[in-house]
Point group: C2
Chain length 212, copies 2
């Protein structure tokens, strides 16, 4: 996305949150909002909002505020949400199934086209519009359908091995829930680690600070 | 935790990751590690590691490295993981159940003592050592067992209302999976928001950068 080169990763990282709030405003039929109103909603300063959004050319007009629909659509474009990257899920345990059933991938740039597990008892189980496939079929599947992203919901020991394999099969991005930090030796691979345990420990620290 | 006052939130936020790596080393029977080895494992610089860990008094010895067991136990103490805060889960849908079944709360400072849902068809269903209770019983339950933390796995519209109620019932910390940013008007409440959708959008941006 050469148009936005030079925008800092921290601004990019805040965009999904802007997107979420703006989507909610649109759903509530709000089509125009001042930076002051948006800032109080999002618990940011108005000047931070102006600074963040100016990175992309400035959607706001003095005295008018932001056009919610235009801003939402532009942030969606920046994030690439209008694409449909084919994605597969590896590991249909409790967490994997919840992710598959709970998330609306389609609205976030991804399209779930396959679910794989090594547990033969799960193979054939329907999940949404799909059925769980045997992990042995992964290679053929990837060669036929060329998925671009993989969601890893498998235990740590299995994660590194399968990640290497998936990269060779053409996967470009990982949404990684395994307890393994995927620090890829491949510069052209995107990884988004979700460490739920780390988040819970952080909460524990905060609660213990309050209750001390 | 007055001993650690003045330690920056960003250092605190990195501690769970240290804890996770050190726990893994201990599991693999490694009891001593140099900052250089730890840094290559964690993909950090050795000087950042020394700087982070020196905040708490410096566990390393020149020429010896870090004592894995001592460091793990001390970081666990700082995070408060040896406590057992009583916690309840609100919302036994796909995500809530996965969280309840998948996480080992006990090793992270929390003890899950109740699961609540408003869906009468779910009430009575066993989940691990518990059964799902009717949300109508929440108030009595809290008065009797005084839980300190709540995990919110409910849709956005319900989240704010129930959060207010839970605070009045004595909850001090929220692990929040609802799509609502809990920005509490109560300074003494800890909140750890987990926005899985934001993480997925960030991955989408990264993948679209690679595939452009």
């Amino acid at each position: 996305m050469p148009r936005y080169e030079g925008v800092s990763p921290s601004v990019i990282r805040r965009l999904p949150r802007y997107y979420r709030f703006l989507e909610d405003l649109q759903r509530r039929d709000v089509h125009r909002i001042s930076s002051r109103e948006l800032s109080s909603l999002m618990n940011l300063t108005a000047s931070q909002i102006r600074q963040d959004l100016n990175c992309f050319g400035g959607f706001g007009q003095q005295g008018y505020g932001y056009n919610v629909d235009a801003l939402l659509s532009e942030i969606g474009n920046i994030l690439g949400l209008s694409r449909e990257y084919r994605s597969i899920l590896i590991g249909a345990g409790n967490l994997g199934l919840a992710i598959a059933k709970h998330m609306s991938f389609e609205s976030k740039g991804f399209n779930l086209i396959g679910i794989f597990d090594k547990n033969k008892e799960l193979v054939g189980t329907p999940v949404r519009h799909l059925v769980i496939s045997d992990i042995n079929r992964l290679e053929n599947f990837c060669k036929t359908f060329s998925p671009q992203a993989a969601i890893l919901c498998i235990p740590k020991p299995a994660a590194q091995e399968i990640a290497d394999k998936l990269i060779h099969l053409g996967i470009k991005g990982f949404w990684n829930f395994s307890h393994y930090d995927l620090t890829m030796d491949y510069p052209d691979i995107a990884v988004e680690n979700v460490h739920l345990g780390d988040s819970l420990m952080t909460l524990c620290y905060q609660v213990s600070e309050i209750l001390e």
